[in-house]
C-alpha cells in the first residue's frame, strides 16, 4: 500500500499549482480550471484520508464537493458569458473599472 504521505504531497503540489494559476493567469477560463484543480486536490486528500482511516464520511464529502463545484462553475460560466457579450474578451485584466 502506498503511504499516505505520497497522496498528501501530491495534493499539496496540485493545490499550489491551482493557487498560483489563479493568482498569475490572466485568462478567465484558465482561472476557472485552476480553481477546479484546487478543489480536486481537496478531493484527493479527502479520499486518501477516508481510505486510510476506514471512514466513509470523507468520501461522501467528496460527492458534495463535486456537486457544488459543478453548480458553481455553471453560475461562473454564465457570468463570464454575460461579461463576454459586453467586453468581447475573456482577459481578466479588463476587471479594473472598479478601483479604490
Amino acid at each position: 500500500m502506498i503511504p499516505i504521505d505520497y497522496y498528501l504531497w501530491l495534493s499539496a503540489v496540485l493545490f499550489t499549482i491551482g493557487v498560483l494559476g489563479v493568482l498569475y493567469r490572466r485568462n478567465a477560463i484558465i482561472v476557472f480550471m485552476c480553481i477546479e484543480l484546487m478543489l480536486n486536490a481537496v478531493n484527493l486528500v479527502m479520499v486518501a484520508f477516508s481510505n486510510y482511516m476506514n471512514d466513509a464520511a470523507g468520501q461522501v464529502f467528496v460527492f458534495f464537493i463535486m456537486a457544488v463545484a459543478a453548480a458553481e462553475v455553471a453560475v461562473g460560466l454564465a457570468i463570464l458569458i454575460m461579461m463576454y457579450r459586453i467586453t468581447k474578451t475573456t482577459d481578466i485584466n479588463i476587471l479594473n473599472r472598479l478601483k479604490w
Binding site: 491551482g18 478543489l39 482511516m53 470523507g58 461562473g76 457570468i79 454575460m82 459586453i86 472598479l98 479604490w100
Partner: protein, 457 residues
C-alpha cells in the same frame, strides 16, 4: 429547524410563481413566510435540539441568529421593493434572496463541517447571481465576476482546511473535533495546524477582514445598491456567526496559538479599513469600508474566549444591521433621484427632505459610535470585553480608529446640511421602515442589556 424548512419551502414556491402565474401574491407571501420563520424561531427558544444525526443543532445561539437573519431580510425586503416590483425576473430574484437566507441559517446552525461548506455555498452561489442581476451594466457584471472568483478561491482554501482537519481528527463533527483536539492537544500533527490556518483564511475572506478584504469594496460598489445592503448586513451577520461557531466552540483548545494571527488581522482591519475610507468620495464605498471596519471591532470582542462575548456580538450585529439598512435605504432613495452615490449627491438633502436627512444622520452617528445610540454601546461593550482580558493596546487602537471613523461619517452628514442643493427631491422610500429602524437604534441605545442578556447562559 422549522424556520429553515419554511424558508426553503418559500424558495421553491417563489421559483414556481413565474410558472403558476401568482407573481402578484409573491410579495405578501414572502413577508408572511419571513414573519412565520421569525415566530417559529422564537417558539423553539430554550429547547436546543439536534437534527439529522447532529448535522445541524439549533441552540439558543443559532435561534437568536436565525431570528436576526430573518428580521434583517424582512427589513431589507421592504427596503428593496423597487428592486423586485415592476422588474423582470421578480420571482427569480426573490427565490435567490430566500435561498441565500437559507444558506445563512445553515451557516449559523451547522454542527458538521459538511453543513458549513454547504451553507456557505448556498449563500454564495445565490449572491454571485444577485450581484450580477443588473445585466446591462458592466459594473454589475464585473462585481459578480470578481465576487465569484474570490468566493470560489476562498472556498478552495476552506475545503483544504476542512480536509486536513478531518485527516488529523477523523471527523467532520465539530463537537467530536473539539473533544479530540482537547484530548490530544499537544500531539496533533503539523498538517492539523496548516488546516486550521486555511479554514481561518477561508472564513476571513467571507467576513472580508483585512488582508482578505480587497474584493469587498469593488463588489459592494458594482452590485445594485439593494444587493449591497443585503451583502453588508445579512451576509456579514451569517458569516460572522459561522466564524464564531468555528473558532469559539470547535477550536478553543488550540486558541492561544491563533490569537496572535487573529490579533494581527484585527490591527490590520481596523487601520486599513478606517484609513482607506477617509479617501472615498462615494457613499456606497464609504459604507463598504465601514462594514469592513466593523468586522475589526466584532473580532475584538471575540478575543475574549468566554461565552459572554456571544451576547456582545449579537448586540453589535443588531445595532450595526439596523443602522446599515437605514443608511442604505436613504442611499437608495438618493441614488434613484440623482443617479449617483457620490457624497456630493447628498448636498442639501436636509433642505429637500428633512426626514431622510435626520434618519441618515442618526444612522451615521450610530455607525460612528456616538452616545446614546446603539452603535456607541456596541463599541463600548466590545472595548470593555477586550479590556477585561487585558488587550489594552488593541483597545487604544480601536478608540483611535473610531475617531478616524467619525471623520468620514461626518463627511456625509456635513454634505446633507450644506446650503447648496443639487438634483431632485428623493421620494421613493419606505417611511414606516425608516421610522421603525430609527426607533430600534434609539431603543437599543437606551436599553442595551435586554439584548445582551439573551445569549448569556
Amino acid at each position: 429547524m422549522n424556520a429553515l424548512l419554511v424558508i426553503c419551502g418559500l424558495g421553491f414556491v417563489s421559483l414556481l410563481a413565474e410558472i403558476a402565474n401568482f407573481k402578484k401574491l409573491l410579495t405578501a407571501l414572502v413577508v408572511l413566510a419571513l414573519v412565520a420563520a421569525i415566530v417559529l424561531g422564537i417558539l423553539d427558544w430554550g429547547t436546543p435540539r439536534a437534527y439529522y444525526h447532529d448535522m445541524v443543532v439549533f441552540d439558543n445561539f443559532s435561534l437568536a441568529f436565525t431570528a436576526l437573519l430573518c428580521t434583517i431580510t424582512l427589513a431589507w425586503y421592504v427596503m428593496a421593493r423597487s428592486y423586485f416590483e415592476h422588474q423582470s425576473h421578480q420571482s427569480d430574484r426573490s427565490a435567490l434572496m430566500i435561498f441565500a437566507l437559507a444558506g445563512g441559517i445553515i451557516m449559523v446552525s451547522f454542527n458538521n463541517m459538511a453543513m458549513l461548506f454547504l451553507g456557505i455555498e448556498i449563500l454564495s452561489i445565490s449572491l454571485y447571481v444577485l450581484a450580477g442581476s443588473n445585466k446591462s451594466s458592466l459594473f454589475s457584471n464585473e462585481a459578480a465576476f470578481k465576487y465569484f472568483l474570490m468566493g470560489s478561491f476562498a472556498t478552495g482554501f476552506l475545503l483544504m482546511g476542512i480536509a486536513l482537519v478531518y485527516g488529523a481528527t477523523g471527523s467532520f463533527d465539530i463537537t467530536k473535533i473539539y473533544v479530540f483536539v482537547h484530548d490530544h492537544g499537544d500531539t496533533m500533527p503539523r498538517f492539523f495546524h496548516a488546516g486550521l490556518v486555511m479554514i481561518l483564511i477561508g472564513l476571513t475572506f467571507k467576513i472580508s477582514a483585512v488582508p482578505f478584504h480587497f474584493w469587498a469594496p469593488d463588489v459592494y460598489e458594482g452590485s445594485p445598491t439593494p444587493v449591497t445592503a443585503f451583502m453588508s448586513t445579512m451576509v456579514k451577520t451569517a458569516a460572522l456567526g459561522a466564524f464564531v461557531k468555528v473558532f469559539q466552540t470547535c477550536f478553543t483548545p488550540v486558541q492561544p496559538a491563533f490569537l496572535i494571527i487573529v490579533q494581527a488581522i484585527i490591527v490590520l482591519t481596523l487601520v486599513v479599513a478606517n484609513v482607506t475610507a477617509v479617501y472615498q468620495v462615494s457613499v456606497k464605498r464609504i459604507l463598504a469600508y465601514s462594514s469592513i471596519g466593523h468586522v475589526g471591532y466584532i473580532l475584538l470582542a471575540l478575543m475574549a474566549s468566554d461565552g459572554s462575548a456571544l451576547g456582545v456580538l449579537f448586540y453589535y450585529m443588531v445595532a450595526y444591521s439596523a443602522a446599515s439598512i437605514a443608511a442604505f435605504t436613504v442611499l437608495q432613495a438618493v441614488e434613484l433621484s440623482s443617479g449617483s452615490t457620490g457624497v456630493d449627491s447628498f448636498n442639501g438633502l436636509y433642505y429637500k427632505n428633512p426626514f431622510l436627512a435626520v434618519v441618515m444622520t442618526i444612522a451615521m452617528l450610530s455607525l460612528a459610535g456616538i452616545p446614546p445610540l446603539a452603535g456607541f454601546f456596541g463599541k463600548y461593550l466590545v472595548f470593555a470585553k477586550a479590556l477585561e482580558h487585558h488587550y489594552v493596546v488593541l483597545v487604544i487602537l480601536g478608540v483611535v480608529t473610531s475617531l478616524i471613523g467619525i471623520y468620514y461619517y461626518f463627511k456625509v452628514i456635513v454634505a446633507m446640511y450644506k446650503k447648496e442643493t443639487s438634483g431632485t427631491t428623493p421620494t421613493q422610500y419606505s417611511r414606516v421602515l425608516l421610522v421603525v429602524l430609527t426607533l430600534v437604534i434609539l431603543a437599543l441605545g437606551l436599553f442595551p442589556d435586554r439584548v445582551i442578556g439573551l445569549l448569556i447562559p
